[in-house]
Amino acid sequence: MASALINVPAKAKRGEIIEIKTLMSHIMETGYRRTATGELIPRNIITSFSCRYNGAEIFRADLFPAIAANPFITFFTVATESGKFDFDWIGDNGFAESASALITVE
């Protein structure tokens, strides 16, 4: 999806610790803001993010309204084998996006 930005090294040595950076475009409306007329704007946030490495979950996060708009999350993993990272974002109002990235481990 165009709304996700993923940064995973294309190549890594076996056993190397790599950094994974992800950004999903989303308003992350807190549910605490009001319009000029005083109406509460309903909450609309991403509540869950997860990353799988060749099918096995390696990272997961619960997000709250205190996460800034366009959630940017970085974490680390050990490059064990060539394959695929799958990223999933789930949120309010049926929001569900996914993205993937490939890595070659030598």
């Binding site: 807190t30 990272f59 997000l63 709250f64 205190a66 996460i67 800034a68 940017f72 680390f76 993993t77």
Partner: protein, 173 residues
Amino acid sequence: MRDSLNEKAAMREPDTSTRREFFSQFLGLAGGTAALGAVSVLTLRPAEATPAMLATAIRNVTGAAVVKTGKVRLDIPPLVENGNTVPMTVSVTSPMTPDDYVKSIHVFNEKNPQPNIGNFYLGPRAGRGQISTRIRLADSQKIVAIAQLSDGSFWQTSVDVIVTLAACTDEVI
């Protein structure tokens, strides 16, 4: 937008704490905004998390376990100009081996409307007990980061942050 924010900042400056206390009490008692009718929308803020809510949120994660200080490092700017997006990095000292690794990292705040910021679940495959993200801060406050290690122990650190422009509660125009 800009003007109204400045105005709000200016209005908040002298007697911030008393007004806020007044409003949280008022909201708590009246249970709604209707009672505040005459008060300008600009100064209307939702009840903020209290130290008791922070303690409850932490207890929900740690249970009865003792939370020790140390091992966790929270990198966040001490002076934040814009509370809408504050970069934050939590790192935990750990060998990250299959026997000794960071299970999870939990970040809390004192004065946003909700005490939780995020829960991050790692594992032995993470290689490094570290995460980064960007957060919102509605006020100058204390941020607490707690890590759970694979042996079940909890470690924490806290940092005080000064915020000049608050997030979360500004009105949309």
